[in-house]
Structure formats: structure tokens, C-alpha cells
């Protein structure tokens, strides 16, 4: 019960406050320093997450630290770190950097709280903390109508989902009398008949709606493409790579754990959601010309793959599937984050060519990127291939484990429809190559539209970090598989 375990969150909260204060004091010019400060803070918190071993629970068990929370905190911190590093260039010279970094850190803390939440109240608070911070971040380019529109849509759908989630939580609370997750589990395990009531389904589905909003599962995904496209690119990275995972960790915690009794049905719901989501994401991604939008749909599709983790039934495979889901979430954080940052580089490049370009993320700007910005292009290549699930990459390892567990589960249960789901997933995976390859073609096949540029160092650092992560997990996945499996074990399916 060492409070040291809370150090990552505490550090970030205090840093956020410090940054706000500093922002009031220092001149606009030196606000760039705040970015480095935040990066340092995030780095430190990553170190703490990795270094401080141990488990514990705090605040009347509302807040736990365990392998599950740690790996997700790691994901959130890493994504934020990438976003922060990239923001150093993206928001260079902006007067509002202090607020930006503070909000970003708070959003990170919110996500971390969700990762650690062991109580619906904490979960809700964490969710809202992260959401509200990201609403603002999404609309951070106040002069840009797209950014504000993105924020508005994000906000409206987000609030709706929050309300749905809250309503669901209230029902769960009403049924079980508990808000703490262990309490809810206990109630359901001791009263299995209570778990099968119709009201239960409604409650669950409202919860699912809330989580699925963050996960951007179809049909709760509507905001995602618009928001990812309109938001500042670095924020899109944060949203797609980071806050999306918040939905997953919440879903893992609540749905997997709390609803043991009704898992068979939730499983079907998630199977349908997963299949529809990945298919929808992939099919619509094909026709996109905006890379950010394409990445958004790809992100939706990836969410579909990750949510296959809920489909497995047999305990052994279920645990493995969740491990795989976590692994893929980790991989996705890196690849998607990296990809968005690469898009940011292209945006930077396009604007330095011509100030007046509107759609900086249009596919055409990627033409000849391999020549214009070789590091970015190569990294983007790796990210895209990883997203497509080509080995050896983080994207492959995650998919490998998930597909493995679902296949085996299908085999164990001799379940035709599960096999069907796996096959659909596989076809989807192949289909996705189509639009990833198109970007690759633009980058490497088409002639460049301009001179070679010097890629700003912060971007390069962020991209290379993501790149190392993406390949590293693919090449040496052992420790990450361990972490993910440990985390899955916490759920004790």
C-alpha cells in the first residue's frame, strides 16, 4: 500500500498545475519550454510506471494499481509523450501552449484514472476528466472552423454517450446496490438469476454504449472520423491512439469482469459489433482521400479487431484473447500515434510549401514522400504495414494472438459462427491492405511534388520512438506478451 504507486498520476497532475502557473509567468516566446517540461514529466511517469513494481488499492478500493492498469497507463503515457513531443513543433509559437500542455496532461491523468478505476464513480470521473480535456484539445485551433466543428461533434456525441453510460451505471447500481466493481461481480456471481433480467441488458447496453463511444465501435463511431479529421493532428493522435484505449480498458474491467453471468450474450453482441465495425471501417476507409479520415476509419477497423477479444468464451482462450487485445491496443497506440504524427509532418511540409493549402492531409500531398521526407515516409510505411498486420510488427503480434484465441475458441466449441467471424476478420485484414497500400504507393511510387524538406527534430524524435516501439514489439514481443498476459490474468476470467 505504498503511495509511491500513485506517483505517475500525481506527477502529471502537479505538472499540469505547474504548467498553468508557469504559463502565467513566462513570456509567450519561451512557452515552447513547457512542451519539453511536459515531455520530461511524461517520460518520468513512464519510468515510474515501469520501475515501481507492486500492486495496491487506494481510496476505499476505488482506485487500484495492478498489471492491467499499469500496461494501459503505459499506453496512455507513451501516446501522450508522442503527442507532446510532436506538439513541440506543431504548436510552436502558439500563445496558448501552457493551456494545451496542461489539458493534455490532465487528459492523460483522466485516462490513467480510468485504467486504475475500481469503482463506477471513479470510472465515470476519469472518463469525464479525459473527455472534457480532449473536447477542448480537439477544438484547440480556435481559428479553424474544422477544429471547432470537430470539437462540437465530439462534445455532443461524447456527452450523449456519457449520459447513456451514467444512466447505465445508475441502473447497475440500482440492481446490485454497489458501485464498486468487485461488489458488482460478487452480486452477480451470488445471484446469477438477477443477471439475466431484461433491465440488466438495458443497463449493460447503456454501459457498452458509453465505452463503445470511446472505442469508436460502429454505430457509436460517428464522431470519430469527423473529429480525427478536424482536430489538430497531434490531438487526433492522442484521441485515436490514447483515449480510444480508455474505452477498452473500461470495457475490459466492467464487461469482462462484472458480467460473468451474462457473458454469453454480451459475447454475441460484441461479435456482431466487432465484425460490423471492422468491415465498416475498412470499406469506408477505401474511399477516403483525407489521410486523417482514412486513419480514423482504419482506427475504427482496428477497434473492431481489438473487440474480438470479448468474443472468446472458454476461460483459457478468453484470457488469451484479452491479452491479445491489450497487445494490439498497445501496438495500435504506437502505430496509429506514429501515423498521425507522420501526417502532421506532411502537414508541416505542405504548409511550408504553401501557406494557403486547406486540406493538408490530402492524399496527394503524400506523393513522393519517400524522397521528400525519407524518415517520415519510411516510418509511415512501417506503421501502415503494421496496421495491416504484416509481420514482424506490433500490429501483427497483437492480431496474431487475438486471431489465435478466437480460432482456437471456435475450434474448441466447434462453433460455426465464430469461425465465420474469424474468416471475416481475416478478409478484412486483407482488404485493409488496399487502402494502406495506396498511401504507400503515393509515398514511394509517385513522383515528389516538391523539394526534400528537413523534418523538424521533435517530429522525427516522436516518429522514431513510435517506430522503434512498433518494430521492437514485433521483433521481440516476449516481454510485452508477458505484460499483456499478466494484465489479462488480473481479470481472472
Amino acid at each position: 500500500m505504498s503511495y509511491l504507486l500513485l506517483l505517475p498520476e500525481l506527477l502529471l497532475i502537479s505538472l499540469a498545475l505547474v504548467i498553468v502557473l508557469l504559463g502565467l509567468m513566462i513570456s509567450d516566446r519561451s512557452k515552447n519550454l513547457l512542451g519539453y517540461l511536459s515531455a520530461g514529466g511524461l517520460l518520468a511517469s513512464i519510468v515510474f510506471i515501469l520501475a515501481i513494481k507492486g500492486e495496491g488499492s487506494f481510496f476505499y478500493d476505488a482506485f487500484v494499481v495492478d498489471p492491467l492498469s499499469q500496461i494501459f497507463k503505459l499506453i496512455f503515457a507513451v501516446v501522450s509523450l508522442l503527442a507532446v513531443i510532436a506538439s513541440v513543433t506543431y504548436f510552436k509559437g502558439s500563445r496558448n501552449q501552457d493551456e494545451y500542455y496542461a489539458l493534455l496532461l490532465l487528459a492523460t491523468v483522466g485516462m490513467m484514472v480510468v485504467a486504475s478505476a475500481n469503482d463506477l464513480v471513479a470510472l465515470f470521473v476519469g472518463f469525464e476528466l479525459a473527455s472534457m480535456a480532449t473536447y477542448v484539445l480537439a477544438g484547440f485551433e480556435k481559428r479553424n472552423p474544422a477544429s471547432l466543428e470537430a470539437a462540437l461533434k465530439y462534445f455532443v456525441i461524447g456527452s450523449l454517450s456519457s449520459a447513456l453510460m451514467l444512466f447505465g451505471m445508475s441502473l447497475v447500481y440500482g440492481i446490485t446496490g454497489y458501485t464498486s466493481i468487485p461488489g458488482i461481480i460478487e452480486f452477480f456471481t451470488t445471484n446469477p438469476q438477477a443477471a439475466t433480467g431484461a433491465i440488466n441488458i438495458v443497463a449493460m447496453l447503456f454501459l457498452v454504449a458509453g465505452f463503445a463511444f470511446k472505442m469508436a465501435l460502429v454505430p457509436f463511431h460517428m464522431w470519430a472520423p469527423d473529429t480525427y479529421e478536424g482536430s489538430p493532428t497531434v490531438v487526433s493522435a492522442l484521441l485515436a491512439a490514447g483515449s480510444k484505449k480508455m474505452g477498452f480498458v473500461a470495457a475490459f474491467k466492467v464487461l469482462v469482469l462484472a458480467l460473468v453471468a451474462m457473458r454469453a450474450d454480451i459475447q454475441l453482441a460484441f461479435a456482431v459489433l466487432a465484425v460490423v465495425t471492422m468491415t465498416y471501417g475498412n470499406i469506408v476507409a477505401i474511399s477516403q482521400r483525407s489521410i486523417k479520415r482514412m486513419l480514423a476509419y482504419s482506427s475504427i477497423a482496428q477497434a473492431g479487431y481489438i473487440s474480438l477479444a470479448f468474443v472468446a468464451i472458454t476461460p483459457e482462450m478468453s484470457q488469451m484473447a484479452i491479452g491479445g487485445g491489450i497487445l494490439l491496443a498497445l501496438g495500435h497506440a504506437l502505430m496509429k500515434g506514429g501515423a498521425f504524427i507522420a501526417v502532421a509532418v506532411v502537414g508541416y511540409m505542405v504548409l511550408s510549401d504553401n501557406r494557403n493549402v486547406k486540406n493538408t492531409d490530402d492524399l496527394e500531398h503524400f506523393a513522393g514522400l519517400g524522397k521528400r521526407a525519407p524518415i517520415t515516409a519510411f516510418a509511415m510505411l512501417v506503421f501502415l504495414l503494421a496496421l495491416a498486420g504484416i509481420p514482424p510488427s506490433a500490429g501483427f503480434i497483437g492480431k496474431f494472438v487475438i486471431f489465435y484465441s478466437i480460432t482456437v475458441d471456435a475450434v474448441i466449441q466447434a462453433s460455426g459462427w465464430m469461425l465465420f467471424i474469424v474468416i471475416v476478420a481475416i478478409l478484412n485484414s486483407a482488404l485493409s491492405i488496399y487502402y494502406y497500400a495506396r498511401v504507400i504507393r503515393y509515398m514511394y511510387v509517385l513522383p515528389p511534388a516538391g523539394e526534400r524538406i528537413k523534418e523538424p527534430t521533435p517530429y522525427v524524435v516522436a516518429i522514431v520512438l513510435a517506430l522503434i516501439g512498433t518494430i521492437g514489439i514485433g521483433v521481440y514481443p516476449e516481454p510485452f506478451i508477458q505484460m499483456a498476459m499478466d494484465a489479462a490474468k488480473v481479470l481472472g476470467v
Binding site: L385, V411, A414, A437, V445
Partner: protein, 504 residues
């Protein structure tokens, strides 16, 4: 001795990275040829030290990789893999020499070829299913680039079609791998992705995948088979191949046809044959394989007859020739199987000549449409000579390696699949037909003045083609060393077949 194989794989990898980093064309190709040549030397060393009288894995090496899933970097060679390793190491340096004059993004070009070598060598040597799969997939990417950067007018369509088609196949194969792995895991309790381990445990698998429709064993078998026949490719999953070939640059086509297709055949021998006797409905499955094989032979031949584009014709001829591999494998007679293996080896060499010829013609005459060519022998006597040698080899002229392979397959398959052999024989006549028809119209006859003045083959192109022609003749006259190791393994493979009474 141990470590040679991984060294052989790593050298081209390092070479590839270095090649990407080089600045000039000259540096790039020197580095590339050195790296691939060094790999060739190593494989020759392996070849010489190989004991072809024993069917077991030799030069085995193993390193722990992902211990929690039981994945090891396990490499080794036997009579199935070594000839193909040799083939890969022959083809790649020759391709690099052939493409000595490449000017467009030369460093990337050579680098990708080296990466292709890495992938292919990995596939042929890895004994861990996971590692096998990774290399299997890795091969796709350089080829995608080779097609889509250096390809022809419809390169985008072709490259993506190639990628998606073969990727789907690999993913389906992956499902089968999952099931095999899980099966072995639940039987032995220890996670292990070793290929032989998984295949051995296939024997004691049972249950239905879908009740009363398909058993688990059969489903796994079919999924694996699907993965391989798309790669080979066999009818009806072949349509990616002509498109890919037509658009690919010559070097890409050569590698694609000579090496990538061989991965499918390799899978048949390494993975399909050991489990075939244990599958639940092996009778039907054998017939299925034979039907696919013969269908490929005949269909490929007929389509080759219909082609106007020389390269497309050659592409279809590949389909037809790979049909022999399938047929030989399905026959389950030691010599038919080793004949099929030999067909792989031999076709790799021959198809290299054919695609190189197409490349030279395209390069010199600016077109590959048979009807637009004509009489180019007049200006390209050296090419004509080499091309003719290649075409003759391809149509199965005795004295060249293709004949040995096809003869062994036909003769030995007759024991178990007489009808199919008779059908395949029909294909042979037409095979000669399209080859000669193309030669007659494209190369011989009156010179088409519209072509203007065309140059004969460049010296570096001639070097690599000549080497291939010599090798084709060499292996046509002296199949012994390579064939013996194949036969040793084929006999071992089929011991189980006989034991299980699949065939008499």
C-alpha cells in the same frame, strides 16, 4: 557448422540495409552482388557438406525467441529445403547481374531484391511455424514495391492484387497454424511452434469443425492447402499471377516466378504431405490435389495459347508447370514426389530465362505483344539463342532439367493417378504449341520494320541468362546430386503414406 544458415540469411539482410544507404548506383549494385554472392557461397558450402543419404534435418540451429508461446528461431536444411535454398541463391545474384543497368532508384531496387532473398531463404530454412509464417509474409512487401515502383502501366492494380490475394491465402493458412499449435499444446502441454512437432501432433487430432460437415483435420488440411496453392498458384486461384507478371519489372518477375511460387510448392512437401495420410478423407483430398494439378497444367497451357503478350504467356506457362508439382505431390510415389521437387528446382531456373528474355525484348523492342514483334532474331541473334534454349527447356526438351522433372512426375504418377497423367500428357503437346507459336511469330519471320533499329542483349544480361541456360542443361544431364537428396526425403515422407495404407 551451426550458424551457417542464419549467417546466410543475415548477410543479405545486412546487404539490403547497406544497399539502401548507398548513394550511387555503382555502390548499390556492388554491395548487392557481394551480399547475395556471399550468401550463394555459403549455400554452396552447405550443399557440399550436406549428406544426401539421410533424410533428417542437418545444420540445425535454434535460438529462443518468444518463450511464452514456444517460438524459437529454428533453422535447418534437408533435401526438401536445400535445393530451393540453392535455387534462391543462384537466382538472386543472377537477377542482380541481369538488372545491372537499372537506373531508377537503383539502391532501393537492389535492396529490395536482397530483402526478397532474405524472405525466401527464411521460408526455405525455418523449421518453426511462426518464423516460417513471418518470412512467408515478409516476402510480399519487397515484391509489392518491385511491382509498384518499377512496374508497367497497370502496376497499381497488379501489385495490390498480388498482395491481397496472397495475403488472404497466408491468413487462411495462419488459421490452420493456430489450430495445429493449439492441438499440439493441448496434447503435450508445452507451447511449441516447431513444424515437425505440430505436424506430428496432427496425427492424434480429432473432432469436427462443423458437426457432420467437415472434420477438424480436413479443415486444417484444406486451409493449409489453400495457403499454398494460391501461392503456387493453382487454378482457380491463379489470376493474380499473370497480372503481377505482366506489370512487374523483369527482375521482379524472375524472382516471383522462380522463387515465390516455389514457396507454395515447398509448403506442399514440407507441410501438406506429412499430414496428408492422417487426414480423415485423404482419398478425396488426394483426388482434389490431383485435379487441381491437372487442371492447372491444362488450363495454364490453354490460356498461354490465348495470350498476345509474351510475358503473360510465360506467366501462364508457369501455372501450367507448377501443375506438375501438384500432380507429382498428389501421386504419393517417392519418385513422383522427388520429381515434383525437381520440377520446382528446374522451373525456377527455366522461368528465369524466359522472363529475362521477355525483359530484354521489352527493353529493346519496346513491346512484348507477340503480334507487334516479328523477326527480331535478325537483330538479336544472341537473345534468340538464349531465349530459344529457354523455351525449349520450358517445353520439356530432354537433355534439359525440365524434362527430367516432368518425366519423373509423369512416369511415377501413373502408378496411382493414371487418368490424370494421360490428361497431363495432352498438355505437353499444347505446351510445345504455344512456345513455338510465340517463337515463330515474335522472333522468327520477317523483321517488323516498325520496331526500328533494336539492340541485341546487353552483356550483363547475357551473362546471367547464359549461366541459367548452362545450369538448365547441367541439371538436365546430371540431376543426380540434387535429385538424390530430394528422393531421400521423399522416401521418408512417404513411409507414412504406405504405413497408413493410403496407397498400396
Amino acid at each position: 557448422m551451426s550458424g551457417l544458415i542464419s549467417l546466410m540469411i543475415i548477410i543479405p539482410l545486412i546487404g539490403a540495409i547497406l544497399t539502401f544507404l548507398t548513394r550511387t548506383r555503382g555502390q548499390a549494385r556492388i554491395v548487392a552482388i557481394l551480399a547475395s554472392g556471399l550468401s550463394l557461397v555459403l549455400s554452396l558450402l552447405l550443399f557440399m557438406r550436406f549428406d544426401s543419404s539421410i533424410p533428417t534435418i542437418q545444420f540445425g540451429e535454434s535460438y529462443v525467441w518468444i518463450s511464452s508461446l514456444g517460438i524459437n528461431l529454428k533453422f535447418g536444411l534437408d533435401g526438401i529445403g536445400l535445393p530451393l535454398v540453392l535455387l534462391a541463391n543462384i537466382i538472386i545474384p543472377l537477377t542482380i547481374i541481369f538488372a545491372w543497368g537499372e537506373t531508377k532508384q537503383a539502391n532501393r531496387f537492389y535492396g529490395l531484391i536482397l530483402l526478397e532473398q532474405v524472405g525466401v531463404l527464411g521460408v526455405f530454412t525455418s523449421l518453426d511455424f511462426f518464423v516460417f509464417y513471418i518470412f512467408w509474409e515478409v516476402v510480399l512487401i519487397p515484391m509489392y514495391f518491385l511491382i509498384s515502383i518499377w512496374g508497367g502501366p497497370r502496376k497499381d492494380y497488379s501489385a495490390i492484387k498480388f498482395f491481397i490475394y496472397t495475403h488472404v491465402a497466408s491468413l487462411v493458412m495462419l488459421l490452420a497454424i493456430f489450430s495445429l499449435y493449439f492441438n499440439a499444446l493441448s496434447i503435450t502441454g508445452t507451447p511449441n511452434f516447431d513444424i515437425f512437432h505440430l505436424l506430428k501432433n496432427y496425427q492424434v487430432m480429432d473432432g469436427w469443425l462443423i458437426q457432420d460437415i467437415i472434420t477438424l483435420k480436413d479443415a486444417i488440411f484444406l486451409a493449409l492447402l489453400f495457403g499454398f496453392i494460391v501461392k503456387m498458384p493453382a487454378v482457380p486461384f491463379h489470376t493474380w499471377l499473370p497480372d503481377a507478371h505482366v506489370e512487374a519489372p523483369t527482375a521482379g518477375s524472375v524472382i516471383l516466378a522462380a522463387l515465390l511460387l516455389k514457396m507454395g510448392g515447398y509448403g506442399l512437401f514440407r507441410i501438406i504431405l506429412p499430414i496428408l495420410p492422417y487426414s480423415d478423407s485423404h482419398g478425396i483430398l488426394i483426388s482434389l490435389m490431383a485435379i487441381i494439378g491437372v487442371l492447372s497444367i491444362l488450363y495454364g497451357t490453354f490460356l498461354a495459347l490465348a495470350q498476345r503478350d509474351l510475358k503473360k504467356m510465360v506467366a501462364y506457362s508457369s501455372i501450367s508447370h507448377m501443375g506438375f508439382v501438384m500432380l507429382g505431390a498428389a501421386a504419393l510415389i517417392p519418385l513422383s514426389v522427388s520429381g515434383a521437387m525437381y520440377q520446382q528446382f528446374s522451373h525456377g531456373l527455366i522461368t528465369g530465362i524466359l522472363f529475362m528474355s521477355c525483359g530484354v525484348i521489352q527493353h529493346s523492342a519496346g513491346t512484348r505483344i507477340i503480334g507487334d514483334l516479328g523477326g527480331i532474331a535478325k537483330h538479336m541473334p544472341r537473345l534468340t539463342f538464349l531465349m530459344l534454349a529457354g523455351f525449349l527447356a520450358s517445353l520439356g526438351l530432354p537433355g534439359m532439367s525440365g524434362f527430367i522433372a516432368e518425366f519423373l512426375v509423369l512416369v511415377n504418377s501413373y502408378f496411382t493417378l493414371p487418368t490424370f497423367v494421360i490428361l497431363a500428357l495432352f498438355g505437353i503437346v499444347f505446351t510445345a504449341g504455344y512456345h513455338l507459336w510465340a517463337m515463330q511469330r515474335a522472333v522468327f519471320g520477317t523483321y517488323n520494320q516498325k520496331l526500328g533499329h533494336i539492340h541485341d542483349i546487353a552483356s550483363y544480361e547475357m551473362v546471367s541468362m547464359s549461366v541459367l541456360v548452362l545450369l538448365v542443361i547441367f541439371f538436365g544431364l546430371n540431376p543426380g546430386p540434387v535429385l538424390n537428396m530430394m528422393t531421400t526425403n521423399a522416401e521418408q515422407l512417404l513411409e507414412f503414406v504406405v504405413l497408413r495404407g493410403v496407397i498400396t
